[in-house]
């Protein structure tokens, strides 16, 4: 497949899975916003507004993770129920093109939700050149590892119902337990150690540091970037080695 055709395939998937469903059912946008805004509301009420800034930065990370959750469900539904993946396998479209196009389509799908949080980010006076660059980099990495994880898992699920089982667990492991919506210092010492096993801990530390919510030295920022990138590369390698494009 030529580069031009690869691009055409990716854009077709973006249109097919990212734009047409919203055209067909605009309520999907509200669905995507529901979880991050619920967290923001809850954090804001419980902390009497003290942690609302964490809710805004955490909401952006959660929105990107929701892209992965959505991708996982879509890929499983398309593979198991509609046999769409089989149709694509028996075509010139390669696995990375399919995953890339589907991941990008979910990103496009999440844009209205992300726009709400960007607006809140600007209203909270967080938008500086440094914070925007950090935020963009972190969100791209979160999107990338969430999609790699989603693709790998989706090729193993036997039924779309299994995604209902795994999605809350993934959400718990990546957004609720790690300090995405609150400062890491709020956690007991043992939980701070456990949180270090989640890539979102590093993502949140970078975003929170860039907007001045938590102190972050240049050395620690370097470590956080390194670990976040390493997690992303590792999840891509696992996807390349373990995801099933052709069934065994």
């Amino acid at each position: 497949m030529s580069q031009r055709n690869r691009l055409r395939s990716i854009l077709t998937l973006v249109w097919l899975n990212g734009i047409v469903p919203i055209r067909d059912q605009p309520l999907y946008i509200l669905n995507l916003l529901a979880s991050p805004l619920s967290f923001l509301f809850f954090i804001g009420i419980v902390s009497r507004g003290a942690l609302i800034a964490y809710g805004i930065t955490g909401g952006m990370v959660l929105t990107m993770l929701s892209v992965g959750t959505g991708l996982q469900s879509d890929l499983t539904h398309y593979r198991v129920d509609l046999k769409f993946q089989d149709t694509v396998v028996a075509s010139p479209v390669e696995a990375p093109v399919y995953v890339g196009g589907m991941a990008l389509s979910e990103f496009v799908y999440s844009l209205p939700g992300l726009a709400v949080f960007v607006l809140l980010f600007v209203l909270a006076r967080f938008a500086t050149l440094e914070s925007i660059v950090v935020l963009a980099g972190v969100l791209v990495l979160v999107w990338a590892f969430a999609c790699a994880l989603a693709f790998t898992l989706a090729t193993y699920f036997r039924d779309v119902r299994e995604t209902f089982l795994f999605s809350p667990l993934i959400s718990l492991a990546l957004t609720v337990l790690p300090p995405v919506y609150y400062p890491i210092s709020s956690l007991p010492a043992w939980a701070q150690v456990a949180a270090r096993f989640s890539p979102t801990t590093y993502a949140a530390a970078l975003v929170q540091g860039s907007v001045g919510l938590a102190p972050l030295s240049a050395a620690n920022a370097g470590i956080d970037w390194g670990v976040l990138i390493a997690f992303t590369v590792a999840l891509f390698l696992i996807a390349a080695l373990k995801a099933r494009w052709k069934e065994p």
Binding site: M1, S2, N5, R8, S9, T12, L13, W15, L16, N17, V20, P21, D24, Q25, Y78, D81, L82, K83, F84, D86, T87, V88, V89, A90, S91, P92, V93, E94, K246, E247, P248
Partner: protein, 317 residues
């Protein structure tokens, strides 16, 4: 005659059932280029497993399959741009309309917009889908959804088409429209591997057929070859009173409503006809149907379920 798909000593045992029966067991066959090849068999006979292996969707356990000269193991990148597949029980994405189902599939394969639009328009016309082109898949009947799936691959630029039970759920008129589109694709020198339950469909479309049972090819050839190779190539239907014991030595007799059905060789069939006419009994005589051949070779109707028997065998083991 060039060969589009060649399978040699193919075997497939699914990983979850390593000691269970093989889905494909030492299957060898050659599918000529530019023809419609019918794969017939009961549910669970191994048809879909074979299609999935040849369409590079499933790994074989052993043996080889080549498509257009390329091995399905290791040369998938060469094969995939040249094939298209309607998987069994596949459905289009529900939020698309019929036109988008075909057009976006063609774009996904890398066709440019002009070509994709032209091919979409033509295939929708050919399969009488033009009036539904703006209708959402969610609002289509099962038959129309299946027709949209067929339209998708028939409009493609692929040289080899895999159609796994493409007309399931279609009404007789729609089936014939799909048949005509398949014939046209075949006239364009495209190779079509068709699996079907409908024996009339297999016979109407296929240049060659393979009858598959328990993962093996039981019989293979043109429809005429298949008839020539069964024990009893003629069927005689006798309507009226006739002594069964006179028929028994001449062929295989079964009672039907109001008479008998006899499968016989040509000389014996003529003899039955002669005697029946002497007795003034009504009869009809002709070559056996594909259904009769299937029954003769497999010992069961194609409608019976092969997979449940395998499961029973596993349970007994």
């Amino acid at each position: 005659m060039s060969v589009a798909i060649r399978a040699q000593h193919l075997r497939k045992v699914y990983p979850k059932s390593p000691v269970g029966p093989a889905a494909i067991d030492d299957l060898s066959l050659e599918i000529p280029t530019g023809r419609v090849y019918g794969l017939i068999g009961r549910n669970g006979a191994g048809k879909t497993t074979f299609v999935r292996i040849a369409a590079t969707q499933l790994e074989p356990t052993s043996g080889t399959v080549t498509v257009l000269g390329f091995n399905v193991q290791g040369e998938e990148r060469e094969i995939r741009p040249r094939i298209a597949c309607v998987p069994q029980e596949s459905r289009p994405l529900y939020f698309l309309n019929v036109e988008e189902v075909v057009y976006l599939y063609l774009k996904l394969r890398g066709l440019d917009s002009t070509d994709a639009h032209r091919r979409t328009r033509d295939v929708l016309e050919e399969l009488s889908l033009t009036e539904y082109r703006r209708r959402s898949v969610a609002r289509l009947s099962g038959g129309l959804r299946r027709r949209a799936m067929c339209a998708m691959v028939l409009a493609s630029d692929a040289d080899v088409l895999f159609l796994d039970e493409p007309t399931t759920g279609l009404d007789p008129i729609a089936r014939r429209e799909v048949w005509e589109a398949i014939r046209r694709a075949s006239r364009e020198q495209r190779t079509i591997l068709l699996t079907t339950h409908y024996l009339d469909e297999a016979e109407a479309l296929s240049t060659r057929l393979a009858l598959v049972e328990r993962g093996r090819v039981m019989l293979e050839g043109t429809p005429a070859d298949l008839r020539a190779r069964v024990r009893y190539p003629y069927r005689v239907v006798i309507q009226g009173s006739y002594p069964r014991e006179e028929l028994e030595p001449l062929g295989r007799v079964s009672a039907i409503e109001g008479g008998y059905l006899v499968f016989a060789r040509e000389a014996e069939a003529r003899e039955i006809a002669r005697r029946a006419l002497e007795r003034g009994v009504r009869l009809s005589m002709g070559p056996v149907s594909l259904e009769d051949i299937f029954l003769d070779v497999v010992g069961r109707s194609i409608e019976s379920d092969g997979s449940s028997e395998e499961e029973e065998a596993e349970t007994e083991a």
